[in-house]
């Protein structure tokens, strides 16, 4: 598994630009945080995000005032944008954990320069995802009913329901991702503490770094803890999207009740997540001139992972289609033919175009080596994975078992404004993170420079 991570002694390490030292790595990364003022690109990006965040807030306030009637959901399509957006966002988060945990266990050095912001992306994506389950009832002030707490009504949640599994999975995922991210940040915040000259940031970074002083005894336990967290996060990330897929699959709705759902959802999540990492990384490395740290090699590997997971998703589509026919169940067969030729057929074929056809370009080394080409493919996948969830939710519900209740579903202005608003919320959080915390792990990047080779030629 370390095929690409062991360059020969003479070969330049493609994971970091040439000529870097402990000093230059520290300077380059920490200066992004410690410099006076932010570049104009930062202000533009954050500004757009901030405006859209306000749109999200307006949409939420209007929702709380008027109720879910402002959305497009109605019987028979009772699950609409809220679940689509929830699944889409939480899926995006999964690439971050995959990069930081699974690639660490597989000793893939290329994770090092992208894991920090990928983890941040996970957290912010989970934050965006978390909004929807809380608000989709229209009564977010009762969201705590989801938790098993002793109450005067003497009731407990139904532990046979996947929706309560979701509460546990998503809250565990958010907590563990936060821990993982924070633990990774501790040594870097100590670096920022030691580098900044201003008293208030010094105090803040000092407290957040918990007084980290780089003791080798501490590093020793730290490394163990970090590896253990990676080992725990790996099955966790799989379990989260598995449980999200159970939300659908344990029901008996045609198109949802499919045993392939767990692995197919997990692959889809990683697929979408890598698309999002590329969507963020490609502009970012350009604006902040980080081509030495996020190299062409990184982009190439991310594109490969995207292609591989995309093909697994394709496998999922194929089995769904084949089994719908093979089952000889009229409801299953109808669901699939409705998906492919019914009123939502254009959406279905658009999703196939985005998720299956567009990624075939990644077979070519030329495309993987062109950031702009990769960016375009990643955008296709971002859209395609959202459409996939739309198709799963809408086509299975809008033709239910009772033909008299058949209807069409579409989002209203408020559905869209909330969804686009969460995009802005995500972007704002990301820009704040870039401004105030090191977006690349400083201490891990140090392990990649030649100085990290220990030579004892003194004695």
């Amino acid at each position: 598994m370390d095929k690409h991570s062991a360059p020969g002694p003479q070969e330049p390490n493609a994971m970091i630009g040439p000529g870097h030292s402990f000093n230059s790595v520290t300077d380059k990364i920490s200066s992004i945080v410690l410099r006076e003022g932010a570049p104009r690109g930062w202000w533009i990006g954050f500004g757009i995000g901030f405006v859209l965040t306000n749109m999200m807030l307006v949409s939420l306030i209007y929702l709380f005032a008027r109720g879910t009637g402002i959305w497009g959901v109605n019987i028979p399509v009772g699950w609409g944008f809220a679940i689509i957006n929830f699944v889409w966002w939480i899926g995006i988060g999964h690439a971050g954990t995959l990069i930081s945990a699974i690639l660490l266990l597989l000793r893939q050095e290329w994770r090092t320069s992208i894991n920090r912001f990928a983890e941040a992306m996970t957290l912010f994506a989970v934050a965006c995802a978390g909004i929807f389950p809380v608000i989709h009832t229209g009564r977010p002030w009762l969201a705590y009913w989801l938790f098993p707490y002793p109450n005067t009504m003497g009731l407990w949640p139904n532990f046979r329901s996947p929706l309560i599994w979701d509460v546990f999975a998503v809250s565990t995922y958010a907590s563990v991702s936060l821990l993982f991210w924070y633990v990774g940040l501790i040594p870097d915040m100590a670096t920022l503490r030691d580098r900044t000259v201003k008293i208030i940031p010094k105090r803040i970074y000092g407290v957040l770094s918990l007084g980290w002083r780089g003791s080798v005894r501490h590093w020793h336990r730290y490394e163990t803890a970090y590896l253990l967290l990676a080992g725990l996060s790996t099955p966790l990330v799989v379990s989260v999207h598995t449980i999200v897929s159970f939300d659908f699959a344990v029901s008996i709705t045609p198109g949802w009740h499919a045993t392939i759902f767990p692995p197919y959802f997990v692959a889809g999540a990683v697929f979408a997540g890598f698309a999002m990492v590329l969507t963020i990384a490609i502009p970012l490395r350009r604006v902040y001139e980080l081509q030495d740290f996020v190299t062409a090699q990184h982009l190439d590997y991310m594109a490969r992972v995207m292609l591989a997971t995309g093909l697994i998703v394709g496998y999922g589509y194929l089995t769904e289609a084949f089994m719908a026919w093979y089952s000889a169940n009229p409801y299953e067969t109808f669901m699939m033919s409705n998906r492919m030729t019914g009123p939502y057929a254009p959406v279905y074929w658009l999703l196939i175009t985005c998720n299956i056809l567009s990624i075939q370009a990644l077979w070519f080394e030329k495309v993987r080596a062109t950031p702009i080409g990769l960016f375009i493919v990643a955008m296709f996948v971002n859209v395609g994975m959202w459409l996939e969830r739309f198709i799963i939710v809408a086509t299975s519900l809008h033709r239910d078992f009772l033909p008299s209740s058949w209807a069409m579903y579409a989002g209203t202005v408020w559905d869209w404004s909330l969804f686009i608003g969460t995009l802005g919320f995500f972007v704002s959080l990301l820009f704040l993170f870039i401004r105030f915390l090191p977006m690349i792990s400083i201490f891990e990047m140090k392990t990649m420079v030649p100085e990290a080779e220990v030579r004892e030629d003194l004695l």
């Binding site: 159970f246 029901s251 000889a328």
Partner: protein, 401 residues
């Protein structure tokens, strides 16, 4: 750096290695058991075909699983795969023999598959609907296609590997990588349908989307466990000791653990979804596997195929010691058979536990012959891919000292 010339003969199967005697014993056991099985086939053809199917699927897992791991290795790389590569290639070269061994099943179609009965097709609309896919002609054609794909992949993998060893250079490395990419897709795709054809269609009314993947995971795990046992017999012996070191067995142990978890994950996903859905068209499959004695089999699988190996393989020391790892792998090989038995046989005997002496003799016959053939394939080839760029540093080091 001057390239030290490697002595190929040093990397061949040593004369005194106990794989030679294993081959002799396997061959004798295989031939004797084959005779017994042939006798059983005359007296009880129905039971013979059932027993033969399970044994066949097990040996197929060894051969085809090897191909699967081999192709995967060509995609993702890693030293763990380099040390297994020659064994995996040998395993995948048994596929032509496995294709031959499939032929008896074609004669057993009528005994094994309800859909091959014309009256069933006539009276059951579900079977009639499926007869477009499940009919004896198309079934045979598909099987031929699967084997064609698998044998082609296996042949190319071995041929290009040999070319690499003769100094093929980057062009051959690239070709192998491409083979891995395309081959992994082809393997997963064909095996999915093969699992549907050969096993799932026994319960002709039942269907599960994840079924193919459960088979793929099982095959890969079977082959992995087998190859760990083979590789462990070379640990600590010159000239392999530097390459088949504790670090590599640690990797293999981790991979085995990962495959066990994947298997458990697929199996649990299928069970939980069907259990929760509780649909009359799906649950009978589990009811026939969880009653009349089969339920103990199911519990044993949870404990011995997942919990126990999982806990044992968490230990770093177990993974780093080739002997203890091989012991775990041996146990897994037994439980892999149990899993296959539990997957297949309750379809013929729903809710009534059954075990026939033909189950043992068919497994001994096919298994013995397969092992003999496998060792034959190992002989005459180097045991390490000497042209593998991943191993170049270690091999060069070994040649200098």
């Amino acid at each position: 750096m001057a390239k030290a010339k490697l002595d190929r003969s040093a990397f061949m199967l040593p004369a005194g290695h106990h794989l030679h005697s294993v081959q002799r014993i396997a061959l004798i056991v295989g031939i004797v058991a084959a005779g017994l099985t042939a006798f059983g086939a005359m007296s009880n053809p129905v039971q013979f075909f059932r027993s033969y199917l399970v044994a066949y699927l097990y040996c197929l897992a060894l051969g085809l699983g090897s191909l699967g791991i081999l192709l995967l290795h060509h995609v993702v790389g890693g030293r763990w795969g380099s040390i297994l590569r020659k064994f995996l290639e040998a395993g995948s070269r048994t596929l032509p023999m496995l294709a031959l061994a499939f032929v008896p099943l074609l004669f057993g179609m009528h005994e094994l598959y309800e859909w091959s009965h014309a009256d069933a097709v006539a009276h059951d609309p579900v079977i009639a609907h499926k007869s477009l896919y499940l009919n004896s002609t198309f079934f045979t054609v598909r099987a031929a296609v699967y084997f064609l794909v698998w044998i082609t992949l296996a042949t190319l993998a071995s041929r290009w590997s040999a070319a690499q060893e003769e100094g093929g250079g980057p062009a051959v490395n690239k070709r192998l990588e491409f083979l891995g990419r395309g081959g992994t897709i082809l393997y997963a795709g064909t095996m999915t349908f093969a699992a549907i054809d050969w096993v799932m269609s026994i319960d002709v009314h039942w269907f599960s989307h994840i079924y193919g993947l459960i088979f793929v995971a099982g095959q890969v795990l079977t082959a992995m466990a087998f190859m760990v046992v083979v590789a462990s017999s070379f640990a600590g012996r010159a000239p392999f000791e530097r390459i088949m070191c504790a670090d590599r067995f640690h990797d293999l142990g981790k991979l085995m653990l990962a495959f066990i978890m994947v298997w458990a994950y697929f199996a649990l996903s299928q069970y939980l979804i069907i259990w929760s859905g509780n649909l009359p068209e799906e649950t009978p499959w589990y009811i026939s596997r969880l009653s009349g004695g089969w339920e103990h089999f199911g519990s044993a699988l949870i404990i011995f195929h997942f919990v126990l190996p999982f806990v044992v393989l968490l230990s770093r020391d177990v993974k780093r010691n080739p002997r203890s790892l091989a012991l775990v792998a041996c146990a897994l090989l037994v439980f892999r058979y149990m899993d296959l038995y539990w997957l297949v046989v309750p379809s013929f005997s729903p809710g009534v536990f059954t075990l026939h002496w033909l189950d043992f003799s068919a497994m001994a016959a096919l298994g013995g012959l397969w092992i003999a053939l496998f060792v034959q394939q190992i002989k005459g080839h180097t045991l390490l891919p000497l042209g593998d760029p991943m191993l170049a540093p270690e091999l060069a080091e070994g040649a200098e000292s």
